[in-house]
């Protein structure tokens, strides 16, 4: 038995390091777990990007689930995510709401004109103050909010085809099952 001990110790260490590698490839090491998951989304009252005089609040969006996508024209990874969102928007099954984060409205409009607009509604948070309540610390971030206004899923970083297929679509499917 004592002859086997070094081998067992080596295997334990190798197993631990292997788990570490696996764990870090499965998770974004920089993503912070949001404490807001399964809690009501924070209240907000923000102007629409194209009609700044009209404000949109949380109550206006209750009743149907929606995906709140935080983006900005200055955010490079939003450009990576954008084609994926645009392709997915018609078959997503939920409303896609754009949350323009810390952006000059003109820059945002120019960016959307250039890259296309997949959003059915666009709200603008120019100061980024409301975004603090959502725990946003960069763009892109996406929140899946159900009909009752509860945050059911959050993704930090761009929505890639893999994230769309493996995480977002199942989360949306689970939402639709409970509220037919």
């Amino acid at each position: 038995m004592s002859r086997l001990l070094p081998f067992v110790a080596f295997m334990l260490l190798a197993g631990l390091f292997g788990f570490g590698i696996w764990w870090n490839t499965q998770h974004d090491a920089n993503a912070i777990p949001t404490p807001l998951l399964d809690k009501p989304a924070p209240a907000f009252n923000l102007p629409q990007l194209y009609q700044p005089a009209q404000k949109v609040g949380k109550a206006d969006l209750l009743g149907t689930p929606y995906l709140l996508n935080v983006f900005a024209s200055w955010c490079i990874e939003c450009g990576v995510e954008h084609p994926v969102l645009q392709a997915a928007a018609p078959t997503l099954g939920v409303r896609l709401v754009g949350y323009n984060y810390k952006d000059a409205p003109d820059d945002a409009k120019r960016w959307l004109a250039e890259h296309g607009n997949p959003y059915s509604l666009l709200i603008a948070d120019e100061s980024g103050h409301t975004a603090l309540d959502f725990g946003v610390y960069g763009a892109p971030e996406s929140f899946l909010i159900d009909a009752k206004g509860v945050i059911r899923y959050k993704h930090i970083g761009p929505i890639t085809p893999e994230v769309l297929a493996n995480e977002l679509k199942p989360a949306i499917a689970a939402l639709r099952k409970e509220t037919p």
């Binding site: 949001t34 404490p35 200055w74 490079i76 990874e77 103050h129 725990g135 763009a139």
Partner: protein, 172 residues
């Protein structure tokens, strides 16, 4: 304002034109150096962003508090040090909350409610962090147990040795 995107921009960038200055010659060099040093001082002052604190005590409190909090974007920098846009926003938010008379505990609670316990450099003892707090002690106890077992085995082997007087050198 155009804050930088999360991964595309480094947390702190300070590209400086000093090197060019050193390539210039003679008196021009000295003049340029003075100008650039002044510019550098200006840039530094900009990075610190002076805030209208009520008094010096509040400023000290602000500095102490922001040094205990971690920037969510540049994750190995404190809120006090970080140049990330979100760190600037959070510093402003903390400043505003201080002006409204909120305590350090209330400000920390505000941040934890939004960015989780991750923002605290000194994590509180909760069910999720007990392994973090007591893990080292646990490993120490395991080590002490292993040492005790080995010592007992050796002392037993030593008493056995006097009888058998055989040592195969395997008791590493």
């Amino acid at each position: 304002m155009h804050p930088a995107s999360r991964r595309s921009a480094p947390c702190a960038r300070n590209t400086s034109p000093y090197r060019k200055a050193f390539r210039a010659h003679g008196a021009l060099l000295r003049q340029l150096l003075v100008v650039f040093l002044l510019l550098a001082g200006f840039a530094h002052a900009q990075a610190i962003e002076p805030m209208p604190f009520a008094d010096h005590a509040q400023e000290l409190r602000f500095q102490q508090l922001t040094r205990q909090l971690r920037c969510p974007m540049c994750q190995n920098e404190t809120l006090a040090d970080s140049n990330a846009p979100i760190a600037r926003d959070l510093r402003n938010q903390i400043f505003q909350m201080m002006q409204h008379g909120q305590s350090d505990a209330q400000i920390k609670q505000y941040l934890v409610a939004r960015y989780s316990g991750f923002v605290l450099y000194d994590p509180p003892l909760t069910r999720g962090t007990w392994l973090l707090w007591f893990g080292p002690l646990l490993i120490l106890l395991c080590g002490a147990g292993a040492v005790a077992v080995i010592i007992r085995k050796r002392s037993r082997a030593a008493t056995g040795l006097s009888r058998s007087a055989i040592d195969n050198g395997d008791d590493w």
